[in-house]
């Protein structure tokens, strides 16, 4: 069946079964591979995209239910929070294997876009759905704090 998706501000037409998860439409059909497959059960967060600004596990979100939503993948992440996070990730050398990091950054961006100055507990709550088996959690947390600080400084200057 044909579906029209709005991904990273661009329209994409796909012809797939309606129950195919958005993750596999984006990866296998549209060939955006920045978003990862980790568990297929909304347990690990590697597949996180933003759907209407909300961090969403796309391995369990059907393509049919993604129609009409604004979908952002790591490839299209361009918000001030997203940019600040990506810079912080490089500055603090956060990734190890890196496989979970697209999902981590998409979750972190959704957090900072709704809460510019999250506490440790708020970061834990927002990020504990994203597993990192390399154990970069401390640096992810530090990266979120650094990005929040950088955004505040930019905001203050403006």
């Amino acid at each position: 069946m044909a579906y029209t998706l709005m991904i990273n501000g661009e329209r994409h037409d796909v012809d797939v079964d309606g129950d195919m998860p958005l993750l596999w439409v984006v990866r296998d059909h549209l060939k955006f591979t920045g978003t990862k497959f980790g568990c297929g059960l909304a347990q690990c967060g590697a597949c996180t995209m933003q759907v209407d600004g909300v961090a969403t596990r796309t391995c369990v979100l059907t393509v049919a239910s993604a129609v009409g939503k604004n979908i952002t993948t790591i490839e299209g992440l361009a918000s001030p929070a997203g940019n600040a996070l990506q810079q912080a990730w490089v500055e603090l050398q956060v990734p190890q294997c890196g496989y979970c990091q697209s999902g981590q950054i998409m979750s972190a961006a959704a957090l900072l876009e709704s809460n510019a100055n999250p506490s440790d507990a708020e970061i834990d709550a927002a990020m504990s759905g994203n597993i990192c088996r390399c154990g970069t959690y401390s640096r992810i947390k530090a990266g979120i704090k650094l990005a929040a600080k950088d955004m505040k400084n930019v905001g203050g200057a403006a």
Binding site: G34, G38, G40, L41, Q96, C97, I131, R133
Partner: protein, 723 residues
Amino acid sequence: MNMQRFAKTSSNNISRRGFLKVAAGTSAGLVLGMNLGTSTAQAQSAGAAKLEFNAFVSISPDNQVKVLIKHLEMGQGIYTGLATCVAEEMDADWAQIVCEHAPADVEKYANLFMGMQGTGGSTGMANSYMQMREAGAAARAMLVSAAASQWGVAAADIQVANGRVSHAQHSASFGELAMAAALLPAPDTASLSLKSPADFKFIGTLAATRKDDGKADGTAIYTQDIQLPGMLSAVVAHPPRFGAKVLSFDASKALAVKGVQHVFAIESGVAVVAADYWTATKGREQLEVQWDETRSETRGSAEILKGYHELVETPGVVAESEGNAAASIAASSNVVEGVYEFPYLSHAQMEPINCVALVNGTKAEMWYGCQMPTGDQAAIAAVLGGQTNEVKINTVFAGGGFGRRANPNSDYIVEATRIAKELPGTPVKLVWSREDDMHGGYYRPAYVHKLTAALDSEGMPSALQIRVAGQSIMEGTFMASSIIDGIDASSIEGLTEMSYHVPERQVELHTTQTGIPVQWWRSVGNTHTAFSKEVFIDALARKAGQDPVAYRLALLKNNPRETAVLQLAAEKAQWGTKVLPEGWGRGVAVHSSFGSTVAEIVDVSVDGDTFKVERVVAVVDCGVAVNPDIVKAQIEGGIAYGLSAALEDEITLTEGRVDQSNFHNYRVLRMNAMPEVEVHILASTNAPSGVGEPGTPPIAPAVANALTAVTGKTFSRLPLKLA
């Protein structure tokens, strides 16, 4: 560490490469339209013909230095580490360095500790340190020599700094000299002068930032991301029990699923092939398979472990013996005993198992995070009835490994090859679901240990008997020759040659047989031996009424390295002086593995039946810390990985079927349970030793010891539970 040995081997490699080889700036990757990631894409920009200086270093006229990395980058930072050594001796500009995985070629890219190309045992930096420095120094010497000829000056008067070669009024980039320099014969290794550590700009500093980039913007390419024209996706229905085989299957319903193209049996199960992964899994759901389970493992883990508990009450094969420990224990009136049980563990790396294969007759081209090129090549060639040199391996980043990707049977690589063999000329991406991965075996084996000690009048151990029961990891693998007199040293490493001084010791091993496939898991035997050793030492200290750090230091009188690491950890954590909040406890463990020593001091807070690991202070002695920030990251990650097993991870089986399937029931460490971690590196001038694994062993015993300190409860199994 024998530096001479490294130097000799690497000089052979370099001299063999003393010829010019200009390769076109396009690779198979670009031809096939793959996005290989930022750095590689830059390397392949227009006009970037690469000029090979040796097996590891090439320089393009546009001034890019490419370092070929012979080890798999799976997060441990080996791209950066090896490039650091090259850049150091070349006096390169860090910005001009790019890295790429080396091809499978054991002649050029063997692990000098293994004699085959492969990554493991935390040897990446240790075996490459001198080899990479020499490769950089050789390239530098060729650049200097070319400049000396062009400018008509003495090579000795030429300076090299930040990627520029200069002399008085002359100055040239590496790229400008590359064409002439690459034509020169490679210098003899003996003629190379390596830098004095005092002159290091990259080694031991923070100047060398990570080169495995593209990981913050989704552009880094893993196996899962490989896209090839006409590529199909495959999944496999595996048997529900280990050792079962396909008896028969009905593919009709699976083939009726729109998009499913092929269904066929292979040795390991039934393959379902479709244009995309999701469709293949839909087909697999419709597949009806009858399994022959006559030779399958039908025992549960509880039954297996019960047998191990019985075994450790009986004598095993003696692996180490000093004095007569058993007699001294029997005669002693002050005996302490501890029994410890360890479950099977899944690696649960974030990227589930996968592999891309393209087969044509006896030829194969593969794309995956290849950890053991030499073994994998042989396994693939065996499936195809061809030669290893007909197997081309394109190595991409691995989404974690922790041991799983160094499979001694090349299990999933063989599976991908068998599927692709049925579809000649068509690239096939084999993808395991998380459930396939968790049910797929090759776990850290389950073990039971029993430790018994006799204490002297001072409370110090005078005799120690250790019995271990569990499966051998090495048996049936290419490492089987390491099993001597029935002893797989990896089952007991960490308990033999113990750093603590105990006059009489005996270590015995019961090697068991099950149908459950097992494999090395980050730090191998040390995953369990460090726990029983360090928890037992704490039990002895309690019996002796002594402080755990002071007790250890007394027993470490013959081991200055562990003494220094433990003393620094105690100092940094303010052991014995820092006042902890009510309900908090503190524990310590120290352990040496893979040539390095790590001590960890842990603070836990306890609230009823729940607890949280609040803080870890770690000290590592890994020789020269080539990239201090990566060393810290590896210790942080090693702690997190070990902590996950200490708190949550456990594979169990019921009647031969694995009970866990995904992260909801194979629970792993998440951010909310991650402690604050502080890593200190002991200054050292020794050759670099491992950092990928040594951070893992001490964490579980340190947590157990901390919990005992605050609750009085002792622990005899992992994961640790208060209730």
